[in-house]
Symmetry: C2
Subunit: 247 residues, 2 copies
């Protein structure tokens, strides 16, 4: 029973509860692709690995399932969510809707300082682009979208956006990195900033709504083209999330 000293937190039970910390740990593993979509989560295994018992781990899994990051089936191991192409598109569509609404609101609410901050992030993103630093580019890109939503000061909106973003995080990562859409994406960002500065709520909304979806659809076309070309060779799943893992 003494092998439970794995985590070695300095504050054993301070402000955040264990299930939430555990959930955060798993969240990070999922977002960092240490736990890839479709992976079965063995409760005893992961619990021992994290140095906790199954009870808080299971509560964490319930949280993550409600957030849509893992999928629970009765009497079956929890699996890291592997949204179908259809669901991926649904997620991005809603994400775009939220960002479009946020952008329209931001046209009223954004202070000059807010806009300056966004432009700063935009330039940092450009810098990363020039350096070819794809990870930094990706993160600045995320920051811009997150900051735009944050301008609304609507915490409920911010939270829903955060969750949706987490659900498509890997996807956006791949989308942003694997496509040759950088130029147009950057142009769109510049357009968005301009419209925000000119307070054109009606114009900014459709741009934001389509922004991520466009990237997705283009990625889809590329993926289909690649598939048609390669023929087979490990289709990198992502399609049928309910397919058995064995076989």
């Amino acid at each position: 029973m003494d092998l439970a000293a794995n985590i070695t937190e300095e504050t054993p039970s301070e402000s955040t509860l264990k299930p939430e910390r555990v959930a955060q740990l798993i969240r990070e593993r999922i977002l960092e692709d240490e736990l890839s979509p479709g992976t079965a989560i063995r409760e005893r295994t992961l619990a021992t690995e994290l140095g906790v018992s199954r009870t808080p781990l299971r509560e964490a899994l319930k949280i993550l399932a409600t957030e849509g990051l893992v999928e629970l089936a009765p009497r079956r191991a929890a699996t890291v969510a592997a949204p179908s192409v259809r669901e991926q598109r649904e997620l991005l569509q809603l994400l775009g809707a939220l960002e479009g609404f946020a952008g329209a609101l931001a046209c009223t609410l954004a202070t000059p300082e807010d806009i300056r901050q966004l432009r700063a992030l935009h330039y940092e993103m450009l810098a990363a682009y020039m350096r070819g630093d794809r990870l930094a580019y990706f993160h600045r890109n995320q920051d811009i979208h997150t900051s735009l939503v944050a301008i609304t000061k609507n915490r409920v909106l911010i939270e829903h956006h955060r969750r949706l973003n987490a659900q498509v995080y890997r996807l956006r990562y791949v989308t942003n990195l694997k496509t040759e859409r950088w130029e147009s994406a950057i142009k769109e960002h510049e357009l968005i900033l301009d419209l925000l500065e000119r307070r054109e709520a009606d114009a900014i909304r459709p741009v934001l709504e389509d922004h991520v979806l466009k990237a997705f659809d283009q990625m889809q076309r590329q993926a289909e083209a690649r598939e048609a070309e390669a023929g087979k060779g490990e289709a990198r799943k992502g399609e049928a999330s309910k397919a058995g893992a064995k076989g």
Copy 2:
């Protein structure tokens, strides 16, 4: 140990898991106001009452907390969520945004059959209005909004809308019933249906976005007026949910 036969489900462990069933039970109690906002949820008490142990109950609470229906604080009893006025407005604003987006989408996607169904619900709502059946009126109203969102076929959107709706359910109930806004609300519904039929996505969106918010703001004004009039007399909380109970 044999007193666990309280629930008396015909299928003890079929498709739905216990924590989710428990969550649903608590959800219903919250929506039906058996558990009113701010109420402390005693784990042992409620667990015994529901005929389950604390383990699935706690998992259910984690689910409900993630959905925003209950609030968890470290080492403190879970409480039924009591959103502040500010958060209530944020919730309604996002709800409106989702419905506005859904309505715009529906202008493209809705089949004549969909629109007929909506009109049917609308007339049922009018019937309830004429009868003075406030509960039926409320439910038909809910059905209309839910059906409109369902037209999009976007399950992610539908689910987020459902959750937001649950969070403001009581609120909308009160809003719809306690205000003298029936006429204008009905007029708005008729406008919405007309615009949907004429496929005017750009016009329908702002109507839906403001629809619920308008009702809320009017209710707020009425509440303030009533408060100013009554002076004191049990302010029916709803304001500061984080305020200490002691003092």
